[in-house]
Every structure is written in structure tokens, then in C-alpha cells.
Amino acid sequence: MSKELLRVSDLKVHFPIRTGGLLIGKYTPLKAVDGVSFTLNEGETLGIVGESGCGKSTLGRAILQLIKPTDGQVLFMGSELTGVGAEVVRQKREEMQIVFQDPLASLNPRMTVGDIIAEPLTVYRPKLSKDERKALVRDMMAKVGLLPQMINRYPHEFSGGQCQRIGIARAMILKPKMVVCDEPVSALDVSIQAQIVNLLMDLQQEMGLSLLFISHDLSVVRHVSHRVMVLYLGKVMEIATRDAIYAAPLHPYTQALISAVPVPDPDIEKNKERIVLGGDLPSPMKPPSGCVFRTRCPKATDICASDVPVLEEKAPGHRVACHHWGPPEKKLV
């Protein structure tokens, strides 16, 4: 077993939302992330899946301390990130970076590509000379598949896929230990998605990176991840190795998610019986009592409304939070 890099314990991010009150505001907490715990090992990819509003992006940012967690603990390389000064966090950020979803919006339109990629170096390696910095940037550009002679161009001159390569180069230039990838391929065309996925996996191999791969696309997550965590309304529903999650998911929500993925194969797709969940995601301001998934769960009973299911190990390395957990009743894909 490789070394543990990140340990997140009972992490909570609650946003106060003003819900009334005339002069003295009345606030209700929006529980975006509500008690999430997991670990990430060196060189490992943890896929984080869930639908919009499940808190997957907030979780990624809270780990990097881009959003201040309300409660809980983040241990990165053995040192505490929560409740410590900004300077301590800043030093640790050298080792943890992020790649954003929107490739163009995450790049400053007034900076050249060279300056964008070099910015982490100017912050964390101020002693480097201009030429040394430029050499590192060129190397990095070549590594992510950009032509080094494009160093003086501006982001708008690049396509979406190329912009994502720039974002990846910026995240990788300090040779971090961990990169949070927040929907890195969702905004890209199918043919470009495959290029970026391959690039991320190659870089991970080469640099021994750990990735937190946040995505709503279950097929992509299966391809890149070693382990997968499923979130719903800020809570962990299930976490297990990739093969366990996809071959034998134990939580009804995971089962529905997997069954909902359209497969590009007419014979399978036209004949499969999808598990279709009724209704929509409840408002995170008013989450259901007990199990948050119970309003859409095909297996829900009275106990689900009264008791919050605890995330427990049901098989080695396979943790599930459900009163009625069990293998799927029919073939999912």
C-alpha cells in the first residue's frame, strides 16, 4: 500500500443564506458539503461523482482552502490545513493545484500563455532568472502538447482543448503532489476529451501525481480512477475501488447513476431497462430528514425518514451509507 497523502475527516462547508428577517437578517445554512471523510494515497486517482448541487466542486475547493470549511479537518502530507494561518496554507499550495472546468474563463485574457504558465513560478520560485523560467515554461508546454513557439500568444487565440492544456501546464509546472481536476473535460468536444484524459493520465504516471478527479461523467471517471466516491446533497453515499463501484455498486443511488448512462451501442441502449429515478434533486436548503436520498430512492422505507444511514464498510474497502444496501437486482448496463 502506498503512502497516504491526504486525509479529509468530517469536512463540512455550510453557506449562510439569508432567508428573511427585516433588519436583523435570518440565515439558514446551505449544507453544500456535510461531513465528508476520505483518504487519498500517493499516485492515486479518486473519482468524485455526483449531479449538480451535490457539493463535488465545493469539496474540491474546500480541500485546497479556496473556500473556508465550516468544520472538519484536512490533513495534507501530514500537516493540518484547516484552522491554520494563511501563510501556512500558501506554502502548502505549492504541492496542490487545481484545473478548472471552463478552459477559457480560467485564463486571464490579458496575459500571454507564457506568463500564465510561469505565474506559479514567479510566486514560488522568485529566485529563478527570467531565462530559466522561460526554459521551464517551454518544457512544460511541450509536455502538455503545446508548441513552445506559441509562448507569446493570448488565450483567445487557442481552441478550448488547447486552453485546457494551458490550464494543465499551469497546474503542473511546480510539480505538485496533488491536483484537483474539477470537471476538466466536460466543456470539451468528444474527440478532444480523449486527448485531455490521456494527457492527464500520462502526466500522472510521469510525475507520480495524485488526482482528485471531479466529474459527472461516469464513463470518464471509470477510465481514470482507482477509487470512486459518490456524493449526493453534500454526503458520501458510497466509496469503493473502481471495479467494485462499477461491477457491484451497493447503494441504490450509484446503481441508478450507472444505469442512467447512455451507452453508444444501439442494441444495448434500445433494450436496456433503465432505473429511472423520479423527481428532481431536493433543495439543499431543505434536505430531507434521515437519508437525503430517500425522496427519490426506489427502496425507501420508514426507517430512511427517521434515521440517517451511517457510512459503513460492507465489504473490504467498500463503504456504503444506506439502510437497504445490496447488489443491484438486475443488470445495470
Binding site: S191, H223, R242, A260, V263, P264, P266, L277, G279
Partner: protein, 336 residues
């Protein structure tokens, strides 16, 4: 089979400060009664603009060349007044973004009944009743209450259902759905796909599904047309395209998708290069710069759609495509 829509040699051009851009270049096809046709392509392939031009909804700097006939009536160049008798009534459209597709300051009821009063001459009360029936058909809970609500009060999935209900109000003969599930979450997408499959059975409308998602196409469509650089690269039945793709682009797209049904591979096949820039489309074959099988002829002569099997056509000079995907290093290149 009779064609509801006949498109012949249709092109779409946009005037831009950098000169004219061709978004669609001379495409021809039919949509027959009761058929579901998938139009697959990436951004910039011209798939949306093709149907925007058919509907007369191009931006001001756009113009349409060629012909698009609805049951024999020419739509290209038709005066707006005439077009409005067909749009919304005989041909309806569903858009990707349900928030911009609905008018934000009008209640759902008002938006739904307007079309019935306009096209069918119904009274307000009749129209409300029909709108309610439609909302029930698309399985919207508490339909009566929804009529008094504004679009922002509803969730994305709910709004998309209302868009579908609105499109079906006048029982159109042709329904054009432009990326209807792209903005939705997986579980909500499953609901909408389920609904569309049911509607396909219940209504007799021909459906055109414009999407980049091959998974959606596989489940719903009978025929598929793959677009790239404003042209059709390959057309055929859904089985032709998914099981025996003949064009390197179609084959490449299919194998670049990771699938839950297959053994996980270490590396994904990726089509090299960037999507085409419509302002600088290569001469001859638009896909040549990214093609594993490119040869001299691709740069000089535009491949025209030709038959490779009954109802299966491709625009490629290659005679056959043998396992380029599983073994990109050793392609068997047979040139006509």
C-alpha cells in the same frame, strides 16, 4: 415512405468582418414520416445552424442557399408571416437551454396557450385544458399549479419537459430537438430520454435529434448523419454507423468514448488535432488534417457521399477501413 422534410444542397453562410464563413456546405437529406434521425457532430460542425436555417432562425448576418421543403412547400426564402404558420404548428423545435428557450417574465400557462390560440384558434379555456393534458403527458406533477408559475421557479429538468410539452401542443409532424438533454444531470437526462422514447411511440411525429452525444443517439434514433466541417461525413442506419462505421471520423469518434460496457483499456483512442476552424477549412476533405489515413487525393479532391451499402453512405476516398481503431499503427489503406 413519404418525406416530411426534403433538404437539397443546403448551405449556410455568415458574413463576418473577416469575410464570409461557411457553416454548412451543400447537404442533402430527407426526414421521413415517423422516423427519428440523429445529427451527430462536434461544436462548429454546423449541425445546429443547419436546422436553424431550415426554421428561418439564422442570425441576421446569416443566409441560406439551396432548398428545404416541408411537404413540398419551399421554406427557404419564405416570408416570415407564411413561415409562422408552419413553425410551432407543423414543425416545432426544442432547444438545449431551457432557461433561454422560455420567456422569463411570462407564466408557463400564458406561454403554452399562446401557440394554441394562434395556430388552432382555440378559446383560452380550451387551450388551458389542452396545455394541462400535455403537461400530464410529459409527466409533470401538479400540472395545474405549474401553469401559474414562472420559468425560474422550476428546475432544469422540469423546464425541459415544459419545452417538450410546448413543442408537442399542436401535434407537429416534425420535431427538431437541439441537444435536449445536454444541460441536464444524468438521472434527469434518463427521465427525458425515457419520455422521448415514449413520445416516439405515441405521437407520429418525425424527430430530428441534434447532439454530440452518441449514447443518446444509440437509444433513440433510426438513422444517423455524422457532420464535420459543415458536411455529412457518413450517413446510415443506427446499426450501420455504430457497428460498421465506414468513415475514419465516425469510427474515431466512436472509439474515443470510454464505455461502461467494455473492458477498461489503458489508453483511450484520441483523434489527433483540433476541431476545424470554419474560416480556414482545408480545401477538399475537411477531415484530412486529423485523419489517420490521409493521402494525396484527400488534399486535392473533395470526397462526395457515395454508397457503401444499402442506405449507408460516406464521404471518403478510402475503399475500406479495416480495424484502424484497434490498431492505428497498422492500417490497411485501400485507396479507390
Amino acid at each position: 415512405m413519404t418525406a416530411v422534410l426534403e433538404v437539397r444542397d443546403l448551405s449556410v453562410r455568415f458574413a463576418t468582418p473577416d469575410g464570409e464563413v461557411s457553416a454548412v456546405n451543400g447537404v442533402s437529406f430527407d426526414v421521413n414520416e415517423g422516423e427519428c434521425v440523429g445529427i451527430v457532430g462536434e461544436s462548429g460542425s454546423g449541425k445546429s445552424q443547419l436546422f436553424m436555417s431550415v426554421m428561418g432562425l439564422l442570425a441576421r448576418n446569416g443566409r441560406t442557399l439551396g432548398s428545404a421543403k416541408y411537404r413540398g412547400t419551399e421554406l427557404v426564402g419564405m416570408p416570415v408571416k407564411e413561415l409562422n404558420k408552419i413553425r410551432g404548428d407543423k414543425i416545432a423545435m426544442i432547444f438545449q437551454d431551457s432557461m433561454t428557450g422560455l420567456t422569463p417574465h411570462l407564466r408557463i400557462g400564458r406561454q403554452m396557450t399562446e401557440v394554441l390560440v394562434q395556430h388552432k384558434g382555440m378559446s383560452e379555456a380550451q387551450a388551458v385544458k389542452r396545455a394541462l393534458d400535455m403537461l400530464n403527458l410529459v409527466r409533470i406533477p401538479e400540472a395545474a399549479r405549474r401553469l401559474a408559475q414562472y420559468p425560474h421557479e422550476l428546475s432544469g429538468g422540469m423546464r425541459q419537459r415544459i419545452m417538450i410539452a410546448m413543442a408537442l401542443l399542436c401535434e407537429p409532424e416534425l420535431l427538431i430537438a437541439d441537444e435536449p438533454t445536454t444541460a441536464l444531470d444524468v438521472t434527469v437526462q434518463a427521465q427525458i430520454l425515457d419520455l422521448m422514447a415514449d413520445l416516439k411511440r405515441v405521437t407520429k411525429a418525425a424527430i430530428v435529434l441534434i447532439t454530440h452525444d452518441l449514447g443518446t443517439v444509440a437509444g433513440l434514433c433510426d438513422k444517423v448523419q455524422v457532420m464535420y466541417g459543415g458536411r455529412f461525413m457518413e450517413t446510415g442506419t443506427v446499426r450501420d454507423i455504430f457497428y460498421e462505421p465506414a468513415h475514419p471520423y465516425a469510427a474515431g469518434l466512436l472509439s474515443s468514448m470510454p464505455r461502461l460496457t467494455e473492458e477498461r483499456s489503458e489508453k483511450l483512442y484520441a483523434i489527433p488535432g483540433q476541431p476545424p476552424n470554419l474560416q480556414r477549412l482545408p480545401k477538399a476533405c475537411p477531415f484530412q488534417e486529423r485523419c489517420d489515413f490521409v493521402h494525396d487525393r484527400c488534399a486535392t479532391e473533395l470526397p462526395l457521399l457515395r454508397e457503401v451499402g444499402p442506405g449507408h453512405t460516406k464521404a471518403c476516398h478510402l475503399v475500406s477501413l479495416q480495424n484502424p481503431v484497434t490498431d492505428p499503427a497498422a492500417p490497411s489503406l485501400v485507396v479507390a
